[in-house]
Symmetry: C2
Subunit: 246 residues, 2 copies
């Protein structure tokens, strides 16, 4: 008997080479692909026969409800996310709504979040303990984001910063860098930025935290802050796996 | 002309369904597979014709040198890691050694680190800002690990704990939980544990931080600590994507 099923699929950066075999199988098994227009556009050409349901950026809850209703009616749905299905992804809101649709099963399929895919471009920036922090204050008060950045700096964590900038908040990365500097990160900390990870016109650069303070980045960029031991080795950002040498 | 090339390949949890297409291609292109015995055993049956070089757990630097020397002699090497190539992986030590082998190119191929693959098993535990912290004090002083745990708790981060236990340090998870409790995490914090992620005999459980304090786990386990808003929804661990409702 056919199950009423929603796959929540992490696509990784977008190019099919970053899909896991499990994610590819889920997309193939689905009757309909549902997601934010930009992500649907990344994959629809590989499945030209599939039904798609694409909606705009802030319509996450509508998409979750649509996916659950469509699965309830008997179709298998793949709800797609860029990066991982969980990290700032759709697995969380759909699992919150799922108890209203008791016949529907949710299967979460992980994918490469930008911290990992962009990290590979830079070298090994997150080889030791790290944090992931989003600078988007759409759902989180800025004071909470500031506190997290301060704690990340005090703990000398490596940090991957998501959503470092947008039209409405062009100076958030600068504000974040100042908080890191005020809480123990040195100006010489090795940092990296990667734009358009795994896509055409991918760009990356290794700079210091002082240089990062006045760097303009856009919403397609992920930013990496090293810890005290992170090095720039022949233009690769490399964090040793510990503080002692083996 | 053939390049002198080492791929550093993140395998994810081990089962081929978690390999990305890029990782699969790298394994296929390699002349020789090199890695820790347990990880080589996970993949050698899929490439029965390939030369393999497998060594024991603490031989990371020897493996890196062997991979670089072998690539220098003209073979393409895939140096494999479980999880991601970067996160506590082999990309870091090999990039540190690489300047001694100027003819050899290193290509880092990301993979699903346990935070993501185990997170998908539990639901969406890391859907908001999170930290990854290893409790292994082989290369990092325990005082540093304590400080990181305290900062993670003060910032109300979700936390994925790697290497929570081993024969030589059976009580480290208990010590870690106490530090989290002393620094602001409540006893009712929703936590999850996943053992043997993506492998036979995968097990998972959702418990409170108070219950976690006296839980015995082994080295094949990854532990997840929620933030203030994390919920147990029908036995899924779900962290909302922000503190405000959409």
């Amino acid at each position: 008997m056919k199950r009423n099923l929603v796959y929540v699929v992490g696509l990784g950066p977008g190019d099919p080479q970053f899909l896991t075999a499990q994610a590819k199988t889920a997309l193939e098994n689905a009757d309909v692909l549902c997601g934010y227009t930009v992500y649907i556009d990344l994959i629809r050409s590989f499945y030209p026969q599939k039904e798609v349901h694409a909606t705009g950026m802030t319509k996450e809850i509508d998409r979750c409800r649509w996916a659950l209703e469509t699965a309830q009616s008997g179709k298998t749905v793949a709800l797609v996310c860029s990066g991982d299905a969980g990290v700032y992804g759709m697995a969380s809101p759909i699992l919150e709504l799922a108890p209203n649709y008791p016949s529907v099963e949710i299967e979460v399929i992980p994918g490469l979040t930008a911290a990992l895919s962009g990290g590979a471009v830079l070298g090994a920036p997150l080889a030791h303990d790290f944090c992931v922090v989003s600078l988007s204050d759409r759902l989180t008060p800025w004071e909470m984001i500031e506190k997290r950045l301060a704690c990340a700096a005090m703990g000398d964590f490596c940090v991957a910063i998501y959503n470092p900038s947008s039209k409405g908040r062009p100076d958030y990365l600068q504000r974040a860098v100042r908080i890191l500097l005020q809480n123990g990160k040195s100006e010489e900390t090795v940092c990296g930025i990667v734009r358009n990870i795994g896509r055409e016109r991918q760009q990356s650069e290794i700079i210091t935290l002082r240089e990062l303070e006045n760097k303009q980045v856009d919403m397609f960029t992920t930013v990496y802050i090293g810890n005290k031991t992170t090095k720039n080795i022949e233009s690769k950002m490399v964090t040793p796996r510990g503080y002692r040498t083996v």
